[in-house]
Structure formats: structure tokens, C-alpha cells
């Protein structure tokens, strides 16, 4: 399964291919979704005239007007709570939460209404809404601007959670999320907003809820998502120079997870390292470890190891290089796994 769209695009280098940053790609994807469906609206703090603090919605208000791109009052529960109402009315709201740390005022609406309404109404009410969240650290920001809250949402039944790791996926995944009839938490790796990719808008994307093998290898498997995927690819490249071939899997979908390729990979390599920036305790990394040890019990030659953020609040940014999993920590874990 899962032909890597990235490579496809790079290979073709067709007329429709252009070099874009991940951020720009999201902008193009949002624009395409708004053009395709007049019910798609964008809402959040500063998403209109300013185009969002990361400029992801740049130019959209100018072209689609103030009733489709809403600069909302400053309150996240309000943003999500009114988006629920708009979705009930038949709109497809795409909400921007300005930074990861500011999703918590909306937590109640997300957990109590967004996640449950379809279930409560026995399917009579659908909530096709997307909540975009720039997430993760590595940009030298002040407090509350570098959180990785995705595990909270993966633990919440009724939500779908995805994260893109590169410019090409960003374009497709945001559109697929908007087309999805379930509420989707869309985590954007903010420190990768300026990473470039070759986008072919004529290509056929993978399904939204599929993980993808980005690099094949036989020694051990690395699984990750969002901003850490690049870290894993770099780790694999470094390992390859020393003759160790690592398989790298980009999860893409965090809930539901598509772990089949991971199981297959572990059956082949016998070693798994999960990499994520979020604190470790009761996290998505824990979930992957729990499921892989169950599915691949007899294949594992070492326990599943986790390389994650620490179980501390996000530290002052001068310390974030220590907090965030980096190449060395990933390879250290690989070594520990191989030497188990």
C-alpha cells in the first residue's frame, strides 16, 4: 500500500509541479477546498486580514470575503463552540487555533460536543469540521507555544487526528480532512512550515488515514509523525553511512492509526523505536508500544523503545534542544535496541 506521493511528485517534475513550503502548501490546499465547496469557511484569531500569525490563511479573506474567513473574538471555546453550530447548520468550518497551548480553553467543547455529537444523535448530525493546530517546539518560542497535545485527542473517542510531516502531504491532507465527514484535529508541524517540497497538484494522494513507509531498511524500524519525521529520516541517513539500514514510517494518521505497515516492518526488523516530541507518559508513543508488543510479540528482539519529550512542562526555549528528540537520541535508542 501507500505509494510515497513525495517521490512520485519528484519523479514526474511535470508542468503542474512547483516548489512550495509546507506552510504555502497548506494555504494552497485551503484555497482549493474553499473553491471546491462554498460551505467551507475558515475561522479563528487573526486569520483574516493578517492571514494568521503563520500566514497559513494569507489572502483567503481578501478573495473569499469576511463571511467565509472570520476574524473571531478572542476565545477558543467560542471558536469551536460556534463552529459546532455552523457545522450543524451545514457549513464545513476550518478552525485555526493560533498555537498548540491555546487549544485548552476549547477542550470542553471538543471533548463534550465535537467528539460526541454524531454518536449522541445516532448519526443524524454530522460534524464535518477541522481544527488546525500548529504544534510542537523548536522555534525558540515563549511558554505555551511549543506544546504537543495530540495524545489528549487520540485518547478521545469520536475525534480523528492527523499530522502532516512534509509540504506535499500538507496540500492533500488538509483537503482530505476538510472533505472528511468526521471532526478532524489537524496538527501542523510548525517548525517545518518553511521546509520545501515538490508539489504536483495533479497527483493522486494516498488515503488520509494511512501511514507510509518513507525509507526501507532491515536493521530496525523508526516510527514517527509530524515534526519528528524529518529527524528520523536524518537519523536513518546517518545510520546508513555506518551501514545500518533503518526503516522509517510516517504515521500521518494518529487516530485511528494505520499500524499495519508498522507491524509488517517490525516482523522484518525485530526492533522498533517510536519517536515523538510529546511527553512520554500515557501518550501516543505508549499506545504504539502497547499495540506492537501485542501484535508482534514473537518478532520483537528487543522491547519497543520510546524517544520522546520528557515528562516536564515544555522548558524555556534555550533548553528545547535537550527536550526534543534529536538524531543522537534516536540513534542512541536504536543502538540500545540492537544491543538488547
Amino acid at each position: 500500500m501507500a505509494t510515497p506521493v513525495m517521490n512520485q511528485a519528484a519523479d514526474q517534475a511535470a508542468a503542474s509541479t512547483r516548489t512550495v513550503t509546507l506552510g504555502k502548501s497548506l494555504n494552497l490546499g485551503l484555497r482549493a477546498a474553499m473553491e471546491a465547496d462554498p460551505k467551507v469557511i475558515v475561522m479563528g484569531e487573526d486569520v483574516g486580514k493578517l492571514g494568521g500569525v503563520f500566514r497559513i490563511t494569507d489572502g483567503l479573506q481578501k478573495d473569499f470575503g469576511e463571511q467565509r474567513v472570520l476574524d473571531t473574538p478572542l476565545a477558543e471555546s467560542g471558536i469551536i463552540g460556534t463552529a459546532v453550530g455552523l457545522a450543524i447548520r451545514g457549513f464545513r468550518p476550518v478552525c485555526e487555533i493560533q498555537f498548540d497551548g491555546f487549544i485548552f480553553p476549547a477542550f470542553d467543547q471538543i471533548v463534550s460536543q465535537v467528539a460526541k455529537l454524531h454518536y449522541r444523535s445516532q448519526g443524524r448530525v454530522t460534524l464535518p469540521m477541522v481544527i488546525r493546530v500548529p504544534f510542537g517546539g523548536g522555534i525558540g518560542a515563549v511558554e505555551h507555544h511549543s506544546e504537543s497535545p495530540e495524545s489528549y485527542f487520540a485518547h478521545t473517542a469520536g475525534l480523528k487526528v492527523v499530522s502532516c510531516s512534509n509540504a506535499v502531504d500538507a496540500y492533500w491532507m488538509i483537503q482530505q480532512a476538510i472533505r472528511c465527514d468526521d471532526p478532524v484535529l489537524f496538527f501542523e508541524p510548525k517548525r517545518r512550515y518553511y521546509e520545501k517540497g515538490e508539489l504536483d497538484v495533479g497527483a493522486t494522494p494516498d488515503p488520509l488515514f494511512s501511514s507510509r513507509v518513507l525509507r526501507t531498511g532491515t536493521a530496525a524500524t523508526l516510527v514517527s509523525y509530524g515534526p519528528s519525521v524529518k529527524t528520523c529520516l536524518e537519523s536513518a541517513a546517518a545510520a546508513a553511512e555506518e551501514g545500518t539500514e533503518l526503516e522509517v514510517i510516517d504515521l500521518r494518521a494518529l487516530s485511528p492509526m494505520d499500524l499495519t505497515p508498522v507491524f509488517e516492518s517490525v516482523r522484518k526488523t525485530g526492533h522498533l523505536v517510536v519517536v515523538s516530541e510529546a511527553p512520554e507518559e500515557a501518550s501516543l508513543a505508549s499506545e504504539i508500544a502497547a499495540r506492537v508488543q501485542q501484535e508482534c510479540f514473537y518478532s520483537l528482539e528487543a522491547p519497543v523503545l520510546r524517544v520522546t519529550g520528557f515528562d516536564t512542562p515544555y522548558p524555556p526555549s534555550k533548553l528545547e534542544e535537550d527536550f526534543l528528540p534529536d538524531l543522537d537520541r534516536v540513534l542512541d535508542a536504536v543502538d540500545r535496541s540492537l544491543g538488547w
Binding site: 469557511i41 463571511q67 473571531t72 473574538p73 476565545a75 471555546s77 467560542g78 469551536i80 463552540g81 460556534t82 463552529a83 459546532v84 453550530g85 455552523l86 457545522a87 450543524i88 447548520r89 451545514g90 457549513f91 480553553p105 470542553d108 467543547q109 463534550s112 460536543q113 460526541k116 455529537l117 454524531h118 454518536y119 449522541r120 444523535s121 445516532q122 448519526g123 443524524r124 448530525v125 454530522t126 464535518p128 473517542a157 469520536g158 480523528k160 472528511c180 465527514d181 468526521d182 488515514f209 485511528p256 492509526m257 494505520d258
Partner: protein
């Protein structure tokens, strides 16, 4: 010291700052009155004694109400109450897990419910059985929630009556969004415009979500009527625990009108609701209505109000019963005879029997319901969980487990 007027209408430079560190007895009384009695601004068209009081501002909104219409409102209230009492009894008999009584709030709800037009949308809290009735949600459709077979069984879109919302305040924001949508779609601006009405309690006014709903609706000129039933209690807490001021005055700080209506007066509730909905459908929303009423029963069937309030209070409010005053008025003006009252009573008994019959025969939900409709577009991980569990559970079939 400060007079009640000063106390309840503080403006910059006028009157004392607020309550004093140790409030005077006068201040305390003024404060209590402010939050727990009508006051001069209470809209009332029908006194507790059933007398129709003229009101130049509000009469036009009920000028078209014929004797037949009034009988209709009476019938709505009686049937609503009968359903409420029957459900309460069903809970006592173990047929329902819990019931949330509306006893005493029939006029507030039926007045509001009958003011709604078909194109309007409603977001209830969890006690709006009277509004449900007016939206053609059959009382039997409410039972699943309280029997534990579902979380709401009517079609919220078809009935234009959203599911009950239990998390206090949540629905206010959802309603604000819906009303924004009505506006964005250009469904606002004339007599046929659409409006939304959202119900919440006195206690709910403290929640951040309710405030944010006020902010959003006012900033987006949303056609939204905030209908606050101040039944004077949030479980065991009286309204003074939530506010210094009468709640309708909260609207002042946001720049839209707030009106306090006698919630035990179905005509007044109808008039004020019609006005408010009209304002909204013409684009002058939002509007806040505080329906001043009283919860004559416990908060829910699991609550014991004797622990926190005096029986006297209830007795006083029985004299203001919302149904009684309409009955007296109908009788006094010879707009209804014995036969009518008997008929309504019979209809109520019939409805109660139907409700009971339906309730005791409700099948337990199938195990599959636990897994159904979590997602619209499916979820393979959950599907596997479901399949495994159902396969496992089928092993117990026949034998109890």
C-alpha cells in the same frame, strides 16, 4: 444608605461602588430582591389571580390570541405537566434511571415554544420538555435519555430541536454558531426570517461558554434569543450565588436588550418571545429573555431539596402556578366550560398512559449500539474492537453473563 435602585443599577459615578464589606441589612434585602423577585421591570400580562393586565408595549404581541388559542396554551401546559408527572412517577417505579422535572416552568416553556415558527431552530438544555412538546418531539422520544437506552432519539434537524445538552453552557455557543449560519445564508431580514432560541438556566449564566455566546452573538448580530429560565435554583444554590444583579441586566454589558418576564405567565412569555424572535428574524438580534419562574419540584429525581430550601417557599409559589391562572382566566371569561377541562384532562390521562405503556415496553438497546455512529466515515481500529467484542459476547448468548 443605598436604595435598592442604586444597588441594582450601578452606573459610574452613581450610587455606592457595590456592596459594602459588611453589607447593611437593607443592602442584603435589596440584593436578594434583585435576584429573586420580579421588580418593576417584570413583564406580566396575566396575574397569578388570572387577571389580564393591559400593557401597551407587549399587548400587540398577543393581540391575535383568541380564546381558542388560549385554550390551546392551557392544553399544552396541562399535557406537558402530565407528561412530567408521569415520567417522574416512572422514575420512582424504577422504569427510568433519572428524571428532570419541569414542574412550574410550563408557562415559560410553552410561551417560548409557541412563539417559535417552523423555520426557527431551538437548542434546549435538559429540562425543556415543554419546548420539546411544542416542537412536535413526542414525549416518548425523550424517554431513552432517562432510561439509558440512547442519548436522544429524535431527529434534531428534522424537528429543528437540537438534542438535550447536559454540560452546562455548551449549547449556548453551539446555538450562537447556528444563528450565525442563518445570518450568513441571508435568512435574516424580514418577517419570514429565521431565528434561533437557546435555553439555559440561572446557574448557567456563570459559565464562560454563556458569556462567549453573548460576545459572539452580539459581534455577529446573530438572530439568537437567549432564553434564561431563572427558576431561582441551580441544584442547591440560589441565584445570589451567581449574580448580584437580576440576570436580564447581564445583557447591558454587551449592547443588546434584556427583558425580564414573568415565567409563570404563558401570555407574557409568548409576547416577549414573539417580540424577541421578531427582532432576531429582522436582524436586530441578539436578545436576552430572563423568564422568572420557580422549580416546584426537586432538581432531579435524585435530588433532595429539603436539605437546602424551606417548604414555605414552595407554598408561596404554588399560589403563582402557571396553569391555574390560565384556568381561572378561561373560566372567568367563560372561554372554557367543564367539558373542555374534562377533555383536556382525559387527553392528558391518555397521553400519560401512552407514555407509560411505551416506557415499560422499551427494548434494551442492542450491544452494537455501543459502537455505532462513533464516526461517520468509519474507523477500522474501532471496527476491529467491535467485531472482537461482539464475537466474544456471542459466546455468552443464552446464558446470562
Amino acid at each position: 444608605m443605598s436604595s435598592p435602585e442604586q444597588w441594582t443599577h450601578p452606573e459610574p459615578g452613581v450610587g455606592p461602588a457595590a456592596t459594602a464589606a459588611t453589607p447593611t441589612a437593607e443592602q442584603v434585602i435589596a440584593g436578594l430582591r434583585a435576584t429573586s423577585e420580579g421588580g418593576p421591570e417584570l413583564v406580566q400580562l396575566l396575574t397569578p389571580e388570572g387577571e389580564r393586565v393591559p400593557d401597551s408595549r407587549w399587548d400587540p404581541y398577543v393581540a391575535d390570541i383568541t380564546a381558542e388559542d388560549l385554550r390551546g396554551l392551557y392544553r399544552d401546559m396541562v399535557l406537558t405537566r402530565r407528561v412530567d408527572r408521569e415520567a417522574n412517577a416512572l422514575q420512582r417505579q424504577g422504569q427510568l434511571g433519572i428524571w428532570v422535572p419541569l414542574l412550574g416552568q410550563e408557562a415559560a416553556q410553552v410561551g417560548a415554544g409557541r412563539a417559535l415558527k417552523p423555520q426557527d431552530m431551538v437548542f434546549p438544555s435538559y429540562r425543556e420538555h415543554g419546548v420539546a412538546w411544542c416542537r412536535d418531539v413526542h414525549p416518548t422520544e425523550l424517554l431513552g435519555i432517562f432510561r439509558g437506552t440512547d442519548h436522544g432519539s429524535w431527529d434534531p434537524l428534522a424537528k429543528r430541536f437540537h438534542l438535550y445538552t447536559i454540560v452546562i453552557g455548551n449549547q449556548v455557543l453551539n446555538a450562537a454558531g447556528y444563528a450565525m449560519g442563518q445570518r450568513f445564508e441571508g435568512k435574516v431580514g424580514d418577517d419570514d426570517g429565521e431565528a434561533t432560541m437557546v435555553f439555559f438556566g440561572d446557574g448557567a449564566t456563570s459559565q464562560g461558554d454563556v458569556h462567549e455566546g453573548f460576545v459572539w452573538a452580539s459581534v455577529y448580530d446573530a438572530p439568537l434569543v437567549f432564553f434564561c429560565q431563572n427558576n431561582q435554583w441551580a441544584i442547591s444554590e440560589p441565584t445570589e450565588r451567581q449574580s448580584r444583579l437580576p440576570l436580564y441586566q447581564r445583557a447591558r454589558g454587551y449592547g443588546f436588550p434584556g427583558v425580564r418576564v414573568d415565567g409563570n405567565d404563558v401570555l407574557a412569555s409568548l409576547a416577549v418571545s414573539r417580540w424577541a424572535l421578531d427582532e432576531c428574524r429582522h436582524g436586530n438580534g441578539p436578545v436576552l429573555i430572563e423568564a422568572f419562574t420557580y422549580r416546584m419540584d426537586a432538581h432531579t429525581t435524585t435530588d433532595d431539596p429539603t436539605r437546602y430550601r424551606l417548604a414555605d417557599e414552595l407554598e408561596a409559589w404554588k399560589l403563582k402556578d402557571p396553569i391555574e391562572r390560565v384556568r381561572v382566566n378561561l373560566v372567568r371569561h367563560e372561554n372554557a366550560d367543564h367539558a373542555f377541562f374534562d377533555e383536556v384532562q382525559a387527553e392528558a390521562d391518555q397521553l400519560a398512559a401512552e407514555l407509560r405503556e411505551f416506557c415499560v415496553n422499551m427494548p434494551d438497546p442492542p450491544k452494537e449500539r455501543m459502537f455505532a455512529h462513533v464516526y461517520e466515515d468509519g474507523n477500522p481500529v474501532l471496527a476491529a474492537q467491535r467485531d472482537a467484542y461482539l464475537a466474544y459476547a456471542s459466546g455468552f448468548e443464552g446464558g446470562g453473563h
